[in-house]
């Protein structure tokens, strides 16, 4: 687009509005085959035989692949290697793939898939995590020895003492539901065996490097044998990790075995059946407070249904554990968290990553506590919230960044006129048909991976002989606009116009492994690597400008496509310096590597500096509830978040609106119908996601406290925006109806 004002610029807008963007299913190769997964009717069973002869002989079928054809390891995973890519000895859940039919057309493959016969001996299905945790429960993964995938804890102070010093003790049970990511583009992969023996993989997956590990494991290949090419993706939201990588892995195996390009495109129903979901939680929460509303102690037990495979359950539940008291200072904490195997659908990463569940619990508890102490919900939070230099429940001192908890809260109160709205709330009493209520919720969130993983990332800025620029990072564009953010940062850092810059979509064979694009870390990590690369590049270029302009090194500034010394009023074109560099055999090429500051964690006591920085958010909503029908109508909503440096405000606000919309789905609309381990809501008619008519008017308030802990100064924002609407809605519904809901989604009962 000619309009390259960073305020409303994205490098992919033109292609997206014209339908030119090539998503994975839009790519094809000559002579391409089509792969289709085969499921079984079982939920938990011992496999006796997988009969493929009829399918193999069906018209158009080239090969039917099962576990027997796997040259590498059939089981893989990011943490535990328990995820079977083809069902082998057992069926662990209803989404397990027993065989993979490869045929000349997709229609042929689908037709033949019905001919695969799975014989198995049914085992009792363990569907309730609490049952799974019992001592004598049937062990789902026998070699693991227990159904408990992982435990985390926080031990701080002395909760017994804390409760004895409390005037009020509250104890409640909460539960949350599965959430389907429902990215509009289902999982898709295209794999092309190249003449040099490398298999190229194009896929709808959010982590090229993690995908490569899955593909290599299944194929028994070296990392350099497989090239994952970043491909535009129709939404991910954390959901295109393991299961999307596995779709790529099966397709790559088919390409290897047939020697031909293969495409797999999932139907919506397969996607919902097989892909992992957000964990449903059961939380028992006990809180002790003084009559002045100061929290003295918290005890909680968190149980997450991990489903049939581990996936990233230990990491998701770790975040829940670290943030189990919300943004409040609590001196006595005892928290036990369990991730548990069941035969339900697999659960894993989803936007929020363990925080949406806990925020619903904590922010409901805070409003309950306000009611019990007679304090205003705002006041009780002010009394307990983290402030500059506060110590978190894991013993981390918040002194290396601006603690903006009160700032975001005040922003919401003011911009939303919250007090007036809150006062108007019906509390169950109204003369009209509509009960009215306003509610809010707030949180803090540790940035990036924290102690979940190794956190570093690189970026390359490669200036061409004519002064145009190629940028790449190890961060994948998931639709969030990270490519545009990287371009804008480069343009700012080098003082060059945006139309000079092109983002080079990363391939795993070119750029070093930048880790996964998760945990809202794209701009923080990739952006910081860009800033560091730009810094190196400026240092390379400066001597040439010094020579040209005859001024001091430290006087040179990069601005308006020029290198200048404003004091001497001298300048030289950026392009000219580049030309100069090439003719003196110097490449204007630089790589920046950003390593996240080190974090610490002591698993024994659940103490440590869990995250290198924190972000703060607050959201509020007003709504009405119809007295007779129970129908909820959302009126206005607001979100205020500390975004760190916002690279592109328009895109940042877009993240706010998208996160709020998804949060509304979580709070009010979405629930997955799974009966006896079989998902019934397989498409959008029965799995209801937010529509244009469901949403309130929304306002986004960006609070920009540049983060001193990373060169980009940015803080991730994709997830924080999605973790607060559900509790805000639950609190608003309470203020409207006088009734407290402990279960998500909030379903109004008997008015």
């Amino acid at each position: 687009m000619s309009d390259k004002n960073p305020e409303a610029w994205r490098n992919d807008a033109y292609a997206k509005v014209t339908g030119k963007t090539k998503y994975t299913d839009d790519i094809k190769f000559p002579n391409m085959l089509h792969g289709v997964p085969v499921y079984s009717d079982f939920v938990h069973a011992k496999i006796i035989n997988i009969g493929i002869s009829a399918a193999s002989e069906a018209e158009g079928v080239v090969k039917v692949i099962t576990a027997k054809d796997v040259p590498g390891s059939n089981k893989f995973g990011q943490i535990l290697k328990d995820f079977q890519i083809f069902a082998e000895d057992k069926i662990y859940y209803n989404g397990d793939v027993t065989a993979f039919v490869v045929a000349e057309t997709r229609e042929h493959a689908i037709a033949a898939a019905g001919l695969v016969k799975v014989e198995a001996e049914e085992l009792p299905a363990i569907l309730d995590p609490e049952t799974a945790m019992k001592k004598n429960a049937l062990i789902i993964h026998e070699d693991y020895g227990t159904n408990i995938i992982n435990e985390h804890k926080v031990r701080r102070g002395d909760t017994e003492k804390g409760f004895s010093e409390s005037d009020i003790i509250l104890e409640e049970d909460f539960s949350t539901q599965y959430i389907e990511h429902a990215y509009m583009e289902p999982e898709t992969a295209v794999c092309n065996p190249r003449y040099d023996g490398v298999i190229e993989v194009y896929g709808s997956m959010q982590h090229p490097f993690s995908t490569r590990r899955f593909v290599c494991a299944l194929l028994g290949a070296k990392l350099s044998d497989i090239e994952i090419v970043g491909t535009p993706m129709g939404g991910g939201f954390g959901g295109k990790d393991d299961t999307a990588a596995i779709v790529c892995a099966r397709t790559a195996l088919a390409a290897k075995l047939t020697g031909r390009p293969v495409k797999t495109m999932y139907k919506r129903e397969w996607s919902v059946r097989e892909s992992y979901k957000r964990h449903p939680y059961k939380v028992h929460y006990k809180m002790g407070l003084t009559k002045d509303g100061y929290i003295k102690a918290v005890e909680c037990k968190i149980i997450a249904d991990g489903g049939a495979y581990c996936s990233v359950t230990p990491w998701v539940t770790w975040r829940s554990t670290v943030q189990c008291c919300g943004p409040y200072v609590v001196e006595n904490v005892h928290c036990d968290t369990y991730g548990v195997y069941t035969n339900n659908v697999v659960t894993g990463a989803m936007r929020g990553f363990g925080s949406p569940q806990m925020n619903f619990v904590i922010e409901s508890m805070m409003d309950i506590a306000a009611g019990k102490t007679g304090l205003h919900p705002v006041e009780i939070r002010r009394r307990n919230m983290v402030r500059q230099n506060s110590i978190t429940i894991t013993g981390q001192k918040l002194d290396n960044h601006k603690v903006a908890m009160e700032e975001v809260l005040d922003a919401v109160l003011k911009e939303f006129n919250y007090e007036d709205k809150y006062k108007k709330s019906s509390h169950g009493v109204t003369d009209t048909d509509e009960l009215y209520g306003a509610g809010f919720a707030m949180s803090y969130r540790g940035m990036s991976l924290g102690a979940e993983g190794v956190d570093f990332c690189s970026a390359v800025i490669n200036v061409q002989a004519d002064g145009s620029i190629l940028v790449e990072t190890g961060i994948h564009e998931n639709g969030q606009g990270s490519e545009s953010a990287m371009c804008i940062l480069t343009s700012e850092q080098l003082g060059v116009s945006l139309d000079k810059i092109r983002y080079r979509r990363p391939s795993t064979s070119v750029i070093p492994d930048g880790g996964t694009t998760v945990a809202s870390r794209g701009t923080v990590m990739g952006g910081s690597a860009i800033v560091l690369a730009a810094d190196k590049l400026r240092k390379l270029m400066t001597p040439f400008a010094v020579k040209k302009l005859g001024c001091d090194e430290d006087k040179i500034i990069f601005e308006n496509d020029m290198l200048s010394d404003p004091a001497k009023n001298k300048s030289v074109k950026f392009d000219e310096i580049i030309k100069e560099m090439y003719s003196s055999r110097t490449y204007p090429h630089a790589m920046g590597i950003f390593k996240a500051p080190v974090v610490t964690w002591d698993e024994e006591n659940g103490q440590g500096n869990a995250y290198f920085s924190w972000t703060y958010g607050c959201q509020a909503i007003e709504l009405t509830v119809n007295k007779t029908t129970g129908k909820v109508k959302l009126l206005n909503a607001i979100a205020a978040h500390d975004t760190g440096k916002s690279v592109n405000k328009v895109m940042t606000q877009g993240q706010f609106y998208g996160g709020m919309a998804m949060g509304i789905g979580y709070g009010l609309l979405e629930s997955l119908n799974q009966k006896d381990g079989i998902i019934k809501s397989l498409n959008f008619n029965t799995y209801r996601i937010p529509r244009s008519t469901d949403l309130p008017e929304m306002k986004a308030v960006i609070i920009e406290n540049v983060d001193p802990n990373s060169p980009s100064g940015a803080k991730g924002i994709g997830e924080p925006t999605n973790e607060l609407m559900a509790p805000a809605i639950a609190n608003a519904v309470f203020n409207a109806t006088g009734k407290r809901y402990f279960k998500l989604p909030v379903k109004i009962t008997n008015k």
């Binding site: 409303a8 509005v17 069906a58 509009m184 129709g234 959008f684 008619n685």
Partner: protein
């Protein structure tokens, strides 16, 4: 064929649900037949003529094939997207004789002699359609996967009502899903485009 005659989009959730059960039953029957014989796909090649983005097209195709797959696979027009295959999401929306139609539901034989417009047909030379321009300017997208369908639905909405209110836009796009949650800006973009299009007329 029964399925292809469905009027799309269907307005209420309930009706949709009932129809869908109905449809599943029919589909199951078909599937069952394929599964039993394993003989694959019945094919009835037919010559079909229609206008696509202003140009005449003649195809020799199985008339029962869904327009979505004919566009994407046979004709290489990949702007129209698959999202659900069952009329629920709107990603596959195209215009047939000025109506927004779910191309995953309509058979190619049903567009015989009709006028089909896809997202690829909106741009004139290098001039974006006002809706495309407004979607880009308002940043009314993130992943962009719903965008073609969204723009085509808005296109038909504006054909029928040149200055829709916010409420009418929301209602008109109700059956087009956007998981990235870009609705707020999509609505503004449609307003902007409507103003611009009126200016031109």
């Amino acid at each position: 064929m029964l399925l292809s005659q469905r009027v799309i989009p269907i307005k209420t959730f309930k009706i949709k649900y009932i129809l869908c059960i109905f449809e599943i039953v029919i589909l199951c029957k078909f599937n069952h037949k394929f599964l039993k014989t394993g003989k694959g796909i019945p094919s009835m090649k037919k010559t079909i003529n229609f206008k696509l983005n202003g140009k005449p097209v003649t195809l020799d195709a199985d008339g029962g094939r869904k327009l979505l797959w004919v566009l994407r696979t046979d004709l290489g027009l990949t702007g129209t997207k698959y999202g659900c295959g069952e009329s629920y999401c709107g990603a596959c929306t195209v215009i047939v004789n000025n109506d927004a139609v779910r191309s995953c539901q309509i058979s190619v034989q049903d567009v015989q002699d009709k006028d089909v417009i896809t997202i690829e047909g909106l741009i004139k030379g290098d001039k974006l359609h006002p809706l495309q321009k407004a979607f880009a300017e308002h940043d009314a997208l993130q992943c962009g996967y719903c965008t073609p369908g969204m723009i085509m639905s808005a296109y038909s909405l504006l054909k029928k009502n040149s200055s829709p209110s916010v409420r009418e836009i929301k209602a008109g796009l109700e059956d087009n899903l956007c998981r990235c949650g870009a609705y707020k800006r999509i609505i503004s973009a449609v307003q902007t485009a409507s103003a611009e299009m009126k200016g031109v007329n």
